[in-house]
Symmetry: C2
Subunit: 340 residues, 2 copies
């Protein structure tokens, strides 16, 4: 099938660009030094491709639904829920469904207790990472509280594998020097916590700091695989690999036109998507109104290709991604891990 | 089931508030004077409830998927695709799947031709509304072009039912007086077009102008059913009826806490969602970080209730909505019309 035959809006993946991104990361951080983050693509088919081509066997997830899907797909050699949960029954079912030991982030007595109850219910072992606040005001305990939490976890019979900390306030800094400085401050917190906690694993980072981590054992990166215009500002060695193809459905206003992909096709928290060769004006629920470049005239029925400003919440709107090489549709990958 | 037993994030609908909204609209604009817009809720179960309680038998849709779902649910007495499409084969299958005549918006020779080809393929009749630009730079022909398009449609054997125009640049104006002025300007365009086109139907408007239309035959309103914080600014007689329930999963920072609903739970184009009783700080993919009101302390494991800033792209992220009366879960309505 030719890409122009896809019903629009269509989420499409440029396989050559994706493979370039996989190869670039696996050369820089091979095997267990990268823990690809499933939240950025929400597809077991894409995860399988990353595992096969990139040689990464450990993944992390943001939701139990993602964890369950990865277990179901047999991609569960070393799965980390890099997020807090209190849902012990569901965590227990997950732990019982895999032969491997799952790991969950904990940052409070309540989340330690939830993991312990899940282990009891499932009658199997669960490991934890102590989630440390390294400057992003979100989850993670204060570095000084990490030792106490680790002790509580060990007393509860949970294996404490080490620490994790996500410098989410740093990874999007456009200037590399600013990322270097911000990361150094964040890692000070993580070092303090790791010394107090012990364990063999330090997990940190993301796409924006993937090549700045020399101390952490692994980087939790996901956006590098498909990319977006927000990360493109960082001039990383990754290519744009995901797009939304849309059809021009109206062109009545001189100098402007309307394509059939809008607010329900794109995560909007990083602003408007871009249209290749055109200038975006504004989005409506199912429309992109754009200014037509005189050098790239379009008419009703033509296709345009759009780039998301933020990949993760864009993917979560779509049922499937179409895998392209050039204009040939090679495959269809379900976005099977969305919702909760 | 009690609402606190729902796995979070959970999209919940307050049935009493929804029914208040249905009753308020059907009192103001009974039966065919309101054409509820399916794009705002994307659920045939909710549409059925609106039809049964509100007595509205005509609906409009923004996508072919919504149209197909409404036909499949038997809610197809008078269905309008209030949007342009070029997908004749799919439109033909839709037209063949219902015993009623479907109506589609057209605003160009190309969309007229697409409707004609669909009618030919399906061997049945299709009606059109001439979509007129009334000031929103999106779809719709210039008022002066409406007569020519109507002639072309009639020559192609399509019934021209009349005109539609959506004053989307007006419906969100917070000041009622500004909406009145804006609507008057828009309706001048629509009157010119209607005089030239003829036909018995003038379709216009939305939630923000529902009580300002005396000339148009019907108003295409959808947001009034569930509402959001953006429309709440207009002080309309509709109540907030949809929420996202979330669980507090982390509370390590003094004065702040984190709930498990983020960018993949809320359309963000109108800004951050709100948290009842708390002050929102920022959203991440699966997190809402918020400042805790000292008068409403929360701890890990507590529930919070959030309000979307924009209802339509929020609903499109969710698989289902839970129907509540107070804290009792009465029903589960699938969001069966999302995607395309």
């Amino acid at each position: 099938m030719h890409a122009s035959e896809l019903s629009t809006p269509a989420l499409v993946v440029d396989l050559d660009a994706l493979d370039h991104n996989i190869d670039t990361m696996s050369a820089a951080r091979p095997g267990p030094r990268t823990r690809p983050h499933v939240k950025a693509f929400k597809s077991t088919a894409l995860a399988r491709h990353v595992a096969d081509r990139g040689g990464h066997g450990s993944f992390c997830c943001a939701t139990l639904k993602e964890m369950e899907g990865m277990v179901g797909a047999g991609l569960d050699d070393d799965l980390l829920l890099a997020n807090e949960t209190l849902d012990s029954p569901r965590l227990a079912r997950l732990a019982a469904a895999t032969r491997q030991r799952i790991t969950v982030a904990v940052d409070s007595p309540e989340t330690v207790d939830a993991a312990r109850r899940a282990a009891d219910l499932a009658r199997c072992e669960i490991s934890v990472l102590i989630d440390v606040n390294v400057g992003l005001p979100r989850c993670g305990c204060a570095p000084d509280d990490a030792a106490g939490l680790a002790d509580a976890a060990r007393r509860a019979g949970l294996e404490v594998r080490g620490v994790m900390g996500y410098e989410g306030h740093v990874v999007g800094e456009p200037e590399r020097a600013a990322r270097v400085r911000g990361l150094a401050r964040s890692l000070e917190h993580l070092r303090v916590a790791h010394e107090a906690v012990g364990g063999g694993l330090v997990s940190a980072g993301g796409t924006g700091t993937f090549d700045l981590h020399d101390w952490a054992d692994e980087v939790q990166a996901g956006s590098y695989l498909l990319m977006d215009t927000h990360y493109a500002r960082l001039e990383l060695p990754f290519r744009q690999a995901v797009f939304v193809d849309a059809t021009v459905i109206s062109a009545n206003t001189r100098g402007a036109a309307v394509a059939d992909a809008g607010l329900k096709s794109f995560g909007m928290d990083h602003g408007e998507p871009s249209i290749i060769g055109q200038s975006m004006f504004f989005s409506s629920d199912e429309h992109a109104t754009f200014f037509v470049d005189p050098d790239h005239p379009v008419g009703v029925g033509d296709r345009v290709r759009m780039i998301p400003a933020h990949v993760d919440p864009t993917i979560a709107y779509h049922e499937r991604m179409w895998v392209l090489r050039g204009d040939d549709v090679l495959d269809e990958w379900p976005v099977d891990l969305r919702n909760w």
